[in-house]
Symmetry: C2
Subunit: 337 residues, 2 copies
């Protein structure tokens, strides 16, 4: 979408670029037209950057993914025209915002002449009841990614670990719980859009539907420590995790804007708190925080390595940067634990 | 509503009977027509029990509160006719179920001849953003009721403590977060129906709107320990409680059906876990679990007193039964802490 391939709101587009197994024709971003994707984003794929939908049509694109999540998750007015054009041109428009395009563009979608369609990824499609800790009885490994903050790399860590497990012929399934993970994997639950009453059951249903896998990787959302975040609790209760993978941005000392007055908690206490909540004071089996992924993006290798070692020493837990150094160390540690 | 004044699904009706300051003409329950309310329920009010809406009309009733919450929160088919009759007779119908009566009975409500109306208590009326721990900066006492299980007396304890504070001329406000509390107090947030993304902000908004009060009593929902419950986390983050009041059903050893295979956690560990989550490992001020309300309903006074003493000894925290022995001890303890 127009603007901001390099803006932090571009998480949706970057996630799809990095992980989607569908062919990606091009990126639409007039600010960066013609530039090199790898140089801009670090994503090692040769995908052209074009300036508008018409160029995308010429490259035989047939789906438009809204790659930017503006603050508040609402559709900006300036997006109306490009989406209208895409729907008229017969595109599938993939939307991860809270706003439902199926409602907003019903005047186009109801016209049989238009072959365009809409996938509102955050739409809750099922009715859920109340969670009852069914997953606690499963015998497989259920690995939940948890974070000290929002946007600390939980989805990326989960996807990379799942990919590595599959490459090594392990039985594994990734449970997407946010719009990006769902867009990438084609299934999952838009947990943020589920009602509080049904959130734990939504996670539980999804985990139970994958019970035949030896490993279930559950995409974490938010943080038990973030004042705006609720999702971690139903993720813990719904998945009854056996393992936690903690994601932490080492460059930061405080939560992200607009709560940047709130410092991160002490890592060791935070790890214990997550485990104590998950084990419900000993009622369930205590999950093992088997590894930490430090997000060392933007640091030199020397500095990154030093901080990784510091955190590993402080916590006594295997620590690396899963994006920088890959998932092999995580797989080895997981299988030993 | 027909049947079940004495059934545990009747929580909504019993809560309104016990606490509403609006005049209550009668209870409709054909199974108990003509019986004595106090003998049946322990509620010391002389309100007649009648068998149908026609009798309520003769008593000049003008509002019908659906007093029963069936499992799953869905409207039973057998209720359609009485609700139609009430709306046709010009009643306000107060509905705490997830189903929206405004939609279901739109064919009646849209007819200008009918003067009946509907209050769907669980409808989320505001748009919320993301919580940011604003309440942490307030200087008042924020007392959150928490429980070891669902339906362990959190609303009742909060209402009784608020009532006692007001009787003693303290400045206090009760924040209702469930359909019964909202129906009784006329305001609040239907937290169970809010999306996960906005739950903490919903609580925060409501608490901030009461910031002029020296005491804010926040009605707890569910439990950090219940596998189907999500609401406690946004309640903690949104209210930034300074005090916790723990509610516990002493007759039980396990959670309620359908999770009755899950034992209650050790009380001392559970109390610490709630405090540790609320203080976010020391980032926020640690709330003080200043008191415990044991639900000793159905036990002899001797047995109740013995259990109260045992729990107080085990936890070192002031313990009583706020329903059986009143709120004075809680007020005294709160003001000292």
């Amino acid at each position: 979408m127009p603007h901001s391939l390099t803006h932090e709101n571009g998480k949706m587009g970057l996630g799809v670029l990095r992980f989607s197994t569908n062919e990606i024709c091009c990126v639409i971003d007039p600010d960066h037209k013609g530039k090199n994707l790898k140089a801009l984003t670090g994503i090692d794929k040769s995908i052209p950057i074009v300036s508008d939908l018409q160029e995308a049509v010429q490259l035989h694109a047939n789906a438009l993914i809204l790659g930017i999540a503006p603050s508040g998750g609402r559709l900006p007015d300036t997006w109306t025209k490009p989406i209208e054009d895409a729907l008229t041109a017969g595109f599938l428009v993939v939307n991860g915002l809270h706003d439902k395009l199926a409602d907003k563009f019903s005047y186009l979608l109801s016209n049989p002449k238009n072959k365009g369609s809409v996938w509102d990824v955050r739409e809750v499609l099922k009715e859920y009841t109340i969670g009852s800790a069914k997953a606690n009885k499963l015998k497989n490994k259920r690995i939940l990614t948890v974070g000290t903050d929002m946007a600390s790399g939980k989805m990326t860590a989960g996807l990379l670990l799942n990919e590595k497990l599959l490459q090594n012929n392990f039985s594994s399934s990734f449970v997407a719980t946010g719009q990006i993970g769902i867009t990438i994997s084609g299934q999952g639950i838009p947990l943020d859009a589920v009602k509080v009453d049904n959130a734990a059951a939504a996670v539980e249903d999804e985990v139970m539907s994958r019970q035949k896998f030896d490993h279930i990787i559950i995409e974490g959302q938010g943080s038990l420590g973030h004042p705006g975040s609720t999702a971690t609790l139903p993720l813990i209760r719904g998945s009854c995790p056996t393992h936690l993978l903690l994601c932490h941005k080492i460059k930061e000392t405080h939560l992200k804007n607009p709560v940047s007055h709130i410092p991160f908690p002490d890592l060791n206490r935070f790890i214990k708190m997550n485990e104590e909540v998950a084990s419900l004071c000993g009622v369930f089996k205590r999950p093992n925080t088997f590894a930490i992924s430090l997000n060392t993006h933007g640091l030199t290798k020397v500095k990154a390595d030093q901080l990784i070692e510091e955190i590993q020493h402080k916590t006594g837990i295997f620590t690396s940067d899963i994006v920088r150094y890959g998932a092999q160390g995580y797989l080895t540690t997981l299988e030993k634990s």
